[in-house]
């Protein structure tokens, strides 16, 4: 078979209902999760010239992001580059792609600089404020709400390629920056 490029259109799920359903999970023995060949994302991360901002180029599967935004907003979202969709994307990133500093601060993406949307690879470009003197942890749980087999990779450009970070639902937060 092929990757299930089109996940179940479960738009009837609402964020508000999750608390209720969480109660139900605890009563169940196991988690069904359809293993899925496609679900990955990739982020390239580097310091901006100012040394206090991280610049992120993030590749996602457009149909998965669409599904996530649809679930989140409660109505069908078509992933196009409009101000409304940008607002949704930035809000989604704020929940699933952020930094936690040593001092306990949470730092969310502050600007969606642009999007390059195409079938084979869709890229989002955004920035995150980041205090370089602190140890920084990256939380990357992107699209893990769409599929539990989602894995996300992030490559800090100051490190060797082999030091790419791999985020999984079991481990969505990893050390990104040692601080100086």
């Amino acid at each position: 078979m092929i990757g299930d490029a089109f996940p179940p259109a479960a738009s009837r799920q609402r964020a508000g209902r999750t608390a209720l359903i969480w109660g139900l999970w605890l009563a169940l023995v196991a988690v069904p999760a359809w293993p899925h060949p496609w679900h990955t994302s990739f982020a390239e991360i580097d310091w901006a010239a100012d040394g206090a901002t991280l610049e992120v180029a993030l590749r996602v599967l457009p149909e998965d992001l669409e599904t996530a935004l649809t679930w989140r907003s409660g109505e069908a979202v078509v992933l196009v580059d409009t101000p409304e969709v940008r607002t949704l994307v930035l809000a989604y990133l704020a929940e699933h792609f952020f930094l936690r500093s040593e001092s306990g601060q949470t730092l969310h993406p502050d600007e969606l600089v642009g999007m390059d949307l195409a079938y084979d690879a869709s890229w989002l470009y955004f920035t995150l404020p980041a205090p370089p003197e602190q140890r920084l942890y990256l939380h990357d749980s992107l699209l893990m709400d769409v599929d539990s087999s989602q894995t996300n990779r992030a490559q800090p450009l100051w490190a060797a390629p082999a030091d790419t970070l791999l985020f999984t639902p079991a481990q969505p937060e990893l050390l990104l920056w040692q601080g100086h």
């Binding site: 999970w25 069904p32 060949p37 496609w38 992933l79 709400d145 769409v146 390629p161």
Partner: protein, 785 residues
């Protein structure tokens, strides 16, 4: 550096591989990486030959099925009864038979359910909710009503989860057959909520169901020469290992349903209206696509409710499985499509919800697939090729595949709202075309080249994804393939944890990349950069030809590719299929050596020029005006004060003369050749050995491209030094200019180093207007405020 001529003669090998450099690292890695695979592969036998071909004692079992099935459209239930003729073509006597009960995967107490690890509640996906609830509420599993011999006697049997063992009344000797029957029932699962490989979809608006029925009958487990009974439980990932045979299937459905199935419809006159029948017959005479059931007719049919049933009869030969789809909602289009010299009936079945995409792209995608695949393997051997739209997607069965992409409810899909010249709605179109190519392509691997999916996912998914890439690229220029190009696999290759491709299907990490993308990319690299298209295509086609309607193992593939090409690929299989290293080569060091000709008329002026090139030191500069002792007292001067160390003396000529006499003519010619000797050091940072495609730029602006085979790493796989001899000055060397090796870090690929710009930076520097502004010239020329 000036190389002494005599030293040069000692360097009879132009490649300075290993040698002094090797001592510093670990010289054993090269021989290990280039060791033959022998002990990793099964020992060849007369059944599976050392050449990779099936041998004179090759055998496989066979199972023929006669099935009567009723689809209960009220209760979403399957009621079936089958007669299986099992042919024991093995040289062994069997005392029992194993059947597979795949529907038992949906029992609440199945291994699939019980062996799942507990969820992380803090990060539990929305997407799994529906799945989880549906699975826990669904009354799944197959109800075996009877297992009987041909004479009608009950046969003793035991159910072990997804497997059923039938005791034979007498041992079944080699060459004998056994006929028996099974009656069963099971509920059909809601495939919109579970991501199953078959099931139903309910349409609230018109209260209709669309069924895609698969893994629906108790079927023979495979008995093989390499495994015995393949009776690994079905856990969900590892697909199927099946026997080939003939199917005669009678499918009883409500009379207003349209049925698509594996095989050829045997009774079109009984199940089709006159109008449908004449269109169906016309479609078989023409390569022009036409409707058998139009969108309007399908729409109208949605309102029909009949209590009458009809039975559709299908026959399929030489297939390993049988699937079907049924609904009131189906539009049906058809045409003949060539595959080599054969003609195949290509058909698509889809509800109105799949329009406008499906009538435009589904059947053309089928036709394109069997055309391109046939050029690399064999002519499509079946009479029909079908694509069905429904809740499952994508999933492959012999002659029929289920493909899910569909527009939104308002008829748009993805960014169809943007203007066509913005190349935006193609995202959805390509999603559909790619999935159809992939699923129809599975007819070659594993439907006909009948590999063991339960054991080796990559043997069908990897090979199929590789041909999918070729087929996509033949659809149109710059087709946006998601898999196939080497650079697209890099992120996966450098990630951890990873398992080798040669890992059992149920234990793979990062399933899609491991079993689909990595082997597909490996084969693409093998074809484009290592074997070349001619040698690769010949060997790949030979593999397909040898194992058509037979059951290959990985060793048969590895061996055939070498056997038919005379290319030793053990290092490649070892690195790409048995290992988890990645490609990262760095161009490290470049040194220039020039030849000392010993001709004083050449060498002395050269030495002088070299010395004159040096700038004076700071002390020399500052002392320049100061008077020295010798200047003050000329008496201190002697021969050495006056002589120029670079002037040529008769002694120099005599030495040169002597040297000339000791040399052969060939050596003399070499000595007079005006050559530069460059040594370039390459470091293998990633560990996976690779050929070195290089681009060399010369001072005169000329550019040369060459490829050094991977064997350069055979003595030392960590670092090698290569000698280049040229009459010109080299100004630049670049490794992998065409991104053909899956090299992980382009920043270290060139000398001099090329700065790497981040994607973010590139995006900011890009001056293109964004796609939304491209439709209107006035708009794109306005600055964004």
């Amino acid at each position: 550096m000036r190389l002494k001529f005599i030293d040069f003669l000692v360097l009879s090998l132009f490649t300075l591989a290993s040698g002094t450099v090797a001592a510093a690292t670990s010289p054993a890695t090269g021989p290990e990486k280039f060791a033959q695979l022998e002990y990793l592969l099964d020992t060849p036998t007369e059944t599976r030959l050392a050449s990779g071909a099936p041998g004179p004692t090759y055998w496989q079992q066979r199972a023929d099925y006669r099935i009567d099935v009723t689809l209960d459209d009220r209760g979403q239930r399957i009621l079936g009864s089958e007669t299986i003729t099992y042919y024991n073509q093995s040289p062994h006597t069997l005392r029992y038979l194993w059947l597979q009960l795949d529907q038992n995967r949906f029992r609440p107490d199945s291994d699939d359910m019980l062996s799942r690890t507990a969820p992380d509640f803090a990060h539990f996906p929305y997407g799994s909710l529906a799945n989880l609830l549906t699975r826990s509420e669904f009354d799944g599993g197959v109800d075996i009503k009877a297992v009987r011999s041909e004479g009608g006697d009950a046969l003793e049997h035991t159910i072990n989860k997804t497997m059923l063992r039938v005791e034979l009344p007498q041992p079944l000797a080699a060459g004998e057959q056994f006929v028996f029957s099974v009656d069963w029932e099971h509920n059909i699962i809601d495939a919109t909520e579970t991501g199953a490989r078959g099931g139903y979809e309910y349409f609230e608006e018109d209260e209709n169901y669309l069924y895609e029925i698969a893994q629906w009958y108790p079927r023979m487990a495979a008995y093989t020469d390499y495994q015995g009974w393949q009776n690994k439980q079905f856990l969900g990932n590892g697909e199927f290992t099946l026997e080939l045979g003939t199917f005669d299937v009678a499918i009883t459905v409500p009379a207003d349903h349209i049925v698509a199935a594996t095989g050829v419809l045997q009774n079109p006159k009984e199940v089709l209206s006159k109008k449908q029948l004449s269109r169906y017959e016309a479609a078989q005479e023409s390569t022009e696509q036409r409707f058998v059931v139009t969108p309007e007719e399908a729409k109208k049919n949605e309102g029909s409710r009949t209590s009458v049933a009809k039975t559709w009869r299908f026959r399929a030969e030489n297939v390993r499985d049988f699937a079907f789809a049924s609904s009131r909602k189906f539009i049906w289009d058809a045409r003949m499509a060539p595959s080599g010299s054969r003609e195949v009936l290509a058909m698509s079945f889809y509800p109105n919800e799949a329009e406008p995409l499906w009538s435009q792209y589904s059947t053309p995608s089928i036709a394109h697939t069997i055309d391109v695949y046939s050029r690399y393997t064999f002519e499509y051997p079946y009479p029909t090729a079908i694509s069905v739209n429904g809740p499952v997607g994508g999933m492959e069965y012999p002659m029929i595949s289920f493909n899910k992409p569909r527009p939104y409810k308002d008829g748009t899909y993805w960014d169809v709202r943007q203007k066509p010249e913005d190349k935006t709605w193609e995202r959805s179109k390509y999603g559909l075309i790619s999935v159809i190519i992939h699923e129809v392509g599975h007819n070659y691997f594993p439907m006909v080249v009948n590999s063991d999916e339960r054991q080796w996912t990559w043997m069908d998914e990897g090979l199929n994804t590789f041909l999918q890439f070729i087929t996509e690229q033949a659809w149109e220029e710059e087709y946006p393939s998601r898999r196939g190009e080497p650079e697209k696999i890099v992120e996966y290759m450098i990630s951890a944890p990873q398992t080798p491709i040669m890992t059992n299907s149920e234990s793979i990490y990062q399933f899609g990349n491991n079993a689909y993308a990595k082997p597909a990319t490996a084969l693409n690299i093998l074809r484009e950069s290592i074997m070349g298209r001619d040698l690769f295509d010949y060997a790949f086609q030979e593999y397909a030809r040898r194992w058509k309607f037979k059951r290959p193992t990985p060793a048969d593939f590895f061996r055939t590719m070498e056997d038919a090409s005379a290319v030793d690929l053990d290092w490649f299989w070892r690195g790409w299929f048995y290992g988890t290293e990645y490609v990262d080569v760095a161009v490290d060091n470049i040194a220039l050596y020039q030849l000392d000709t010993r001709d004083p008329d050449v060498e002395k002026p050269w030495q002088k020029a070299e010395k004159d090139k040096l700038e004076p030191t700071l002390s020399e500069q500052r002392n320049a005006d100061a008077e020295t002792l010798v200047q003050r007292y000329p008496k201190l001067r002697d021969f050495y004060t006056e002589s120029d160390e670079f002037s040529v003396t008769p002694w120099d000529y005599a030495q040169f003369e002597q040297l000339q006499q000791s040399l052969t003519d060939r050596e003399k010619a070499l000595l007079n050749a005006d050559k530069n000797f460059y040594t370039v050091t390459f470091s293998n940072i990633g560990g996976l050995v690779t050929p070195l495609p290089l681009r060399i730029t010369y001072a005169d602006g000329k550019v040369e491209e060459l490829q050094i085979p991977a064997e350069i790493w055979r003595r030392n796989a960590e670092q090698v030094t290569k000698l280049f001899i040229t009459g010109k000055e080299i100004t630049g060397i670049e490794f992998d200019p065409y991104r053909s090796t899956a090299d992980a870090d382009a920043a270290n690929n060139a000398w001099p180093r090329k700065p790497k710009t981040s994607r973010f930076q590139l995006f900011k520097e890009k001056e293109d207007p964004n796609p939304m502004r491209r439709g209107n010239k006035e708009q794109w020329e306005q600055p964004i405020l």
